[in-house]
Symmetry: C2
Subunit: 430 residues, 2 copies
């Protein structure tokens, strides 16, 4: 910088957004480009629907919806589009009557689900407010919380998802410490979550709602249900959303924000997400989104609506499920082949999603600066996501011996080779 | 709300975003749907490029760029896309060498230019900070400033754009009041602005930069050049951007954020904007955008890149200029026909853009609650944008007797009829 000028300091909002795990991760991806990547959360490029997008666009631009698609619209998306997305949500929920009668006003189309996660967080949190999160949880959302100055507090989570009793206990603790008024939100990735591949069990879904309702007598709590991986379901029971347990009584206030995206089930590049908001959040979120962009891209939204209406989307998701199921099986088979005889190593067997969550012996740190990460990336040429990123960074009890392994991008052969290399790295450091 | 639950209060960020002029305006549009609209800032639906979008998508999805378009990418847009947009900016600037060598890192693709306006504002302003704005200015940006808690201070502006002397005087005043350290930005719509249709003159462009540089010795100032209407140019000189006067010396710090959009020149529904950032703002803006959406929609970006590369975009803009020029002429002819003999009424004659700015006699208030607005919308069935929206709402000296009239949406006959009705309303209240 020139001596004739003064130093520039970014505003606090930019400052808080400045240390994102995703940034470190992408940097590691660039620096370790020669590695097989079990880290990338990208979807399988083979499945990307170029033909469906072309056909939908041709149909769209040749019809009456062509010009409206290219014109300004309304911030949350047009009513006709939102109706298509409401039908989609209704179908997912098993033709729930409750959803059929959902007011279109509560539906918002966003730039991926990421934008909804941010807008909801901006609407809820003042700096210093608190969000309860599963442990582990989606590390990008921890960055969003940092960005709005909110504190993430971990809640015990096992292979059945977030424990309602642990949530209750944590709220009791915060209440006794006079902090309950700072708690605004519970964040749960409810299906085949990122990073651990676990779903909140059928039995726990209504019980999480009960805890949220109970404490809302003292402090209105929302629950953000991130259902990004809902349709990447390969086996096990099909579960109703947590959202479906909200608002059984029309006079009750609503608690659940339902966030869905077409990034995993169709195409991330289209950046189409859909959210359902509690009535109380409609105006704050729409106001924020209006300041942000007046609405997300209509072309992408209309392409997705078109394949939803034609039935092509359902067929695409079926093919996707079949393909990812094979890759999930390939990763679990490779885990059995290469890791079963390494003492102290365990992993979860997901029913869906894109990830296998692996735990190493307690003393094996997996972080970016660890011997394990160096061994994996420098010697064995394989990359993973360090599990510690998936816990609040100021939580000193966070486990540091875990790894998120993705089977999204590699083919079956690549998955096996990646797991073989990873086992070699683990053996070297155990 | 149920008595069993506590009241929800939105966070301060949502609260600050809650009273947007655009919201009131859209509400008025809905309530006065039976009016001819000289208010809507929409583009002419006849010009929307459905054929070009269809052809570009077909080409794209059938080629090697198809799958990458549908996959995740990087937050600011891929390098290959940003190179296409750099070439476009270079061409606009008359093949400027400076732009040819612009680092791709400084280019960001956004969801319309609106997202860039917000991200830059989030990166610069803490609540209580100050932005200097033209008077009148783009009312939506005043809402953005409200949203981040920044104070807008008006700078005298005439038919040659913002006055450099007035900017200097205002900075001098703020400095003498000990407020200079709160000033972060000067906001200028540099070409055929919204709302007044005026451009900053050739002579004033470098002088605005001189003022910004001069005061940056004490407090680093940025200048946000919103060039949304740059290509809607019908006659008069083709002007270099204010950006082109920045960074003549590579060692100097950069001051200008250049914001461009394809919403006016191609399609608003695609939501594609492109910005050039001073090096110091690259990381803060990218960090904020990463938290927001990981990147805007690739399909729209690639469609625009495709028509830029094929030359179809240039041809489209030529047709657009021809069409809007005719509509501009129709509105000015109707102004001459119906308003010339009304005492105290005057208007500007724009060389481009979408708007004619009309001033009524001092005592005629044009606001939403005024007799004039009621007369126009209820009796004469025509709607306009009250000029007072285009000044900071806490500025008690703001003119309240002006109107923004748009010729964007109506055809020539509709424009004449709208102006005839408006003249009737003015006569009734003068």
């Amino acid at each position: 910088m020139s001596g004739t000028d003064t130093q520039f300091q970014p505003a606090s909002m930019a400052d808080r957004a400045s240390a994102q795990a995703i940034g470190f991760l992408m940097q590691q991806g660039i620096e370790n480009a020669d590695c097989l990547s079990l880290a990338a959360g990208f979807v399988d490029p083979e499945t990307l629907p170029v033909d469906l997008v072309r056909e939908a666009t041709v149909k769209l631009m040749g019809g009456p919806a062509g010009k409206p698609t290219l014109q300004y619209g309304t911030t949350p998306g047009s009513d006709s589009l939102r109706e298509v997305f409401r039908n989609y949500l209704t179908e997912l929920e098993g033709d729930s009557t409750q959803l059929k009668s959902l007011s279109l006003d509560r539906i918002v189309l966003t730039t991926g689900s990421q934008q909804l996660l941010l807008l909801v967080s901006q609407a809820l949190f003042n700096p210093g407010d608190i969000c309860l999160v599963a442990a582990p949880t989606y590390f990008v959302y921890l960055d969003v919380l940092d960005g709005v100055g909110a504190k993430a507090i971990p809640v015990t989570t096992d292979e059945n998802g977030m424990c309602p009793e642990a949530l209750d206990t944590e709220l009791q603790r915060l209440s006794s410490e006079g902090q309950l008024h700072r708690v605004k939100l519970v964040y749960v990735v409810s299906y085949h979550d990122n990073p651990a591949g676990v779903s909140v069990s059928a039995e726990r879904r209504p019980r999480l709602m009960d805890v949220v309702r109970k404490w809302s007598a003292d402090q209105h709590l929302f629950l953000l249900e991130d259902a990004a991986y809902r349709e990447l379901h390969y086996d096990g029971p099909v579960l109703p959303s947590i959202f479906s347990y909200d608002q059984q009584d029309k006079d009750d206030p609503q608690h659940v924000i339902l966030s869905q995206t077409f990034s995993k089930s169709f195409s991330p590049g289209l950046r189409v997400g859909v959210g359902v908001l509690p009535q109380q959040l409609v105006k704050p979120v729409f106001d924020l989104k209006c300041n942000e962009d007046f609405g997300s891209g209509h072309l992408s939204q209309n392409v997705v609506a078109s394949v939803l209406q034609s039935g092509a989307y359902r067929q695409h998701v079926s093919r996707l499920q079949h393909s990812y199921k094979g890759k999930r099986d390939a990763m679990l088979a490779a885990a059995d082949e290469f890791f079963l005889d390494i003492p102290g190593v365990s992993w979860l067997r997901p029913n869906g999603g894109l990830y296998v969550w692996m735990t190493l012996p307690d003393h094996v740190n997996t972080g970016f600066d660890s011997d394990m990460f160096k061994q994996a990336t420098h010697t064995d040429k394989v990359m993973y996501v360090p599990g510690e990123l998936c816990y609040p960074s100021d939580w000193d009890q966070r486990p540091r011996n875990q790894m998120r392994l993705s089977y999204g991008v590699l083919d079956n052969e690549g998955i096996r080779e990646g797991m073989k290399r990873l086992a070699s790295a683990v053996r070297a450091v155990v």
